[in-house]
Symmetry: C2
Subunit: 510 residues, 2 copies
């Protein structure tokens, strides 16, 4: 039996396994500040790769980056009732602008420096960006406004979990204003598609894009769309959302323009975002019992070279050989960019370093010892297939030139293999459910890894929907989304027995 | 006489001119939130270029990026007395984590959701990062720790000015821990040099690197170094700082390691940062009466193509010609990167668009009309030399192929010309001062643009230094720094008459 690198397996305790990946792969740690984490270099490096690749796509679709204030006056929130209702319970509020001694050797907020109007630390920026849109938009000629910002936001969460739900998190939030509802809806779906293709192509994360049910809409939105990814425990992770806001925020914030006939109209707005939560998804989709496996496109280092040194003069030859290898790799391109190769010269034993990089999930780990140098070889470990059939670590001795020549193809192969493995799992784990009884059986207590059920429903609204939500809640289930790609309807609504109008995915979630 | 594009000249009112550049070049605007600004796409695009170029240099010197919490518990600040003394007066404090209705149709912080320990919105992160260092550092093998973060910080400023002094600003803050004081001092100076060369090479900003006097040190630092740039009104702008913190923070936060003999020692730490303030420096060094001039290396768009359209079928030919030009330019490299060329197809008159880009400071603006297409030409405006000797706009008709072939050289030339113009101004504006009377004369009221005086001093400390600072304050002067490159001492201290030990620069400042 293989002795895996993590202290706990996915099978034994998925939640403990998740925490152990984060800790063993040096992705992040508790900060000592309630609900906030420290994102360590390997975790942040993945986020930087995500930022770079997604930012390119956001810009390629015509959006420009800006930066808006962290603080939002209370009065801004008072304007959109649904919006404030959705966020009021979890807002961090700044009330003072100075500290003074508390007379007991400590500090306290200075009572004489109380803000006239308290400021909220942004939980999302529709209100403050909408106020800017109202300034910027006068005429139809000023539309569309297409902007995005990369920022930190704060939602005071009671129960936190690293990457998935933290009081502060990093994200991008796109905000746009358009002359017509049709154009704004188009934008909403365009960005949903940007997220879908980004998740699939860059994160190797298979997702289902679809519309969220009414009860799961963003506070203040007319419709909300999401991409949903399936974790290895069968739960769903909402990995990105795109909202059509109609004229709700424009009404609240007075975003008006004169159309070509000189008549004033309200603009239609959208917003859309993804966050560091995506990294949680990457962990739970690609991780295994030896740690994380990072898809090459988002790996801070795609190839890590570990020299096997013996504290002897010959070491210099090994290090030189490794340096030459690193330089040759940097000349290669893979997946559209120069190969990112690191030579790990930090203090430590080669075997410890090797396993460190396996746990971190570097796509390729190269070991080089005196014998490899003598033979002109390298020892290659591929993170997507770590073990041979006999359970031994699959470290292949390859001629250095052959390895370098093939590195581009190998990285593409790893990217594709992680994706196809995850896609096969997703597809196998979505099954149709004919009636509510099927739901109850499928998600009965004790059933391991039930995945999602696809059911047909009549899309009830209001109280009828509330009833459905309640019934599902008893099974700890939620409606994830109604996929954009829909098979034909061939049965009644599993909840009401009425004629069904669409298919929705139902599952447990993070 | 030239009719310039801005409503006010530098000569007439430098401060109003500065605000007009920010507004006319669409760099930033007031946000409606006290002391916070909105950074608009052109301003943020410059910041993104700064980030990219500086980040490469920070990484090339072995630092890795991380992310630490926005919020810092009060207790973290209580540990380092000088540090808290320096920042307590300007801290935004979070005291509540929920809003409720105030019963009058508005919202208020929920009295039942008061934080047990108030949280400070980070003004700088020594304390929270030091706490992480204390966890990470156990043995000499864990050192050095070399990290950096790109983040927003908040210092509650009473008088704010866009880019120069805002309550919230964006910056990078590097933090490192070392086994010895010598190594930490080396790091401090290494990063000072990274800032100096970055400012000169990328921002075309000539600066003087040197050590700040004791009274200007970062709260908690043993020594503070800065780069000082000279604005066109002769005032100094501190554009970046690097601090040697000794064991002050390590002591307060218990950053200890076991040395190779097994003995526990305190680590020596450093910190260093530059911020969006740099953009204020770029404006006040390179701007002219027609707006901003952005050095090509940090210009979001280096070449902007403005088609001259007439709402006629022939327009399509002009647009196609422009598209081909844009594609050809994207194939060229300049200053080590692919040329960034924009085709401006937004609604509007060509002349308005041209002047818009002149005010924004795009290095090269190309106009293309039907006649240019027929002749295979383009009309070229270089932002670094906008007017001919006769005061007319210098728009040169050039064969398209010639322009494309020379674009790399032209952009290098513009980068160099902005730099040499600013460098000549800096050098001409630093003059030696033999005694205090020289200072009084040089900086007498009514003297326009006095620049800086270089004086020799005995480097007094404590009360003696306080006296010097007071005397200077009466003249609205501060000691900027003691330049790293020092000419030999050849006179007494201008303040005390005692033997001088070094030369310092004295001036007014932002």
């Amino acid at each position: 039996m293989i002795k895996h690198a993590l202290p706990v397996t996915r099978e034994a305790d998925f939640s403990a396994w998740y925490q152990s990946v984060i800790s063993e792969a040096d992705l992040a740690e508790e900060s000592g500040v309630r609900g906030c984490m420290v994102i360590r270099p390997w975790g942040y490096g993945i986020w930087e790769r995500i930022q770079r690749l997604l930012d390119d796509r956001i810009k390629a679709t015509g959006h420009e980056n800006c930066y808006f204030p962290l603080f939002i006056p209370l009065s801004y929130f008072e304007k959109e009732a649904d919006h404030v209702e959705g966020f009021a319970k979890e807002m961090a509020v700044v009330t003072h602008h100075r500290l003074v001694s508390d007379g007991k050797g400590g500090l306290m907020p200075d009572p004489t420096a109380k803000l006239e109007e308290p400021l909220v630390v942004r939980p999302t920026s529709e209100t403050v960006i909408g106020a800017a849109f109202a300034r910027w938009v006068q005429s139809w000629r000023d539309l569309p406004v297409l902007i995005n910002q990369w920022a930190n936001v704060v939602r005071w969460e009671m129960r936190t979990r690293m990457f998935l739900r933290t009081s502060e998190f990093l994200w991008q939030e796109g905000h746009t204003a358009h002359a017509t509802a049709e154009e704004a809806r188009e934008e909403t779906l365009k960005m949903l598609e940007v997220y879908r293709s980004f998740a699939e192509d860059c994160l190797a994360l298979p997702v289902v894009a679809g519309e969220k049910p009414e009860n799961e809409r963003f506070p203040g939105a007319v419709s909300t769309y999401s991409i949903e990814a399936m974790m290895q425990d069968g739960k769903a992770l909402q990995a990105g959302t795109s909202h059509f806001l109609g004229t709700n925020f424009a009404q609240a914030q007075d975003i008006k323009f004169q159309n070509s006939e000189g008549v004033f109209e309200l603009a239609n707005t959208t917003s859309w975002g993804v966050s560091t939560r995506m990294i949680g998804g990457v962990i739970m989709v690609h991780g295994d019992d030896d740690g994380l496996r990072v898809p090459p496109r988002i790996a801070p280092w795609q190839v890590v070279i570990v020299p096997m040194l013996r504290d002897q003069p010959e070491d210099a030859v090994v290090v030189d050989y490794c340096k030459a290898l690193q330089a040759e790799l940097a000349q290669q391109s893979a997946l559209g960019e120069p190969v990112r190769a690191l030579l790990d010269l930090k203090f430590g034993k080669a075997a410890t370093k090797r396993w460190g990089w396996v746990k971190k999930g570097a796509p390729i780990v190269i070991e080089v010892g005196g014998r490899d140098v003598a033979g002109g070889n390298v020892s290659v470990i591929r993170r997507d297939r770590l073990y041979r059939a006999d359970g031994k670590l699959d470290s292949a001795v390859v001629a250095k030139g052959d390895f370098v020549g093939a590195v581009s193809a190998t990285l593409s192969e790893i990217q594709a293999s992680l994706h196809s493995e995850a896609r096969a799992r997703l597809e196998a784990s979505i099954v149709p459910g004919a009636d509510f009884a099927a739901l109850e059986t499928h998600f009965a207590e004790g059933v391991k890894n039930p995945g999602w059920l696809e059911v047909q429903w009549s899309k009830p609204t209001g109280e009828a929907l509330d009833g459905v939500v309640e019934r599902l809640k008893k099974l700890k289930l939620t409606i994830r989304n109604a996929p954009m790609t829909q098979a034909a309807i061939d049965g009644p609504c599993v909840f009401t027995g009425e004629p069904a109008v669409e298919r929705v995915l139902i599952g447990r979630s993070y």
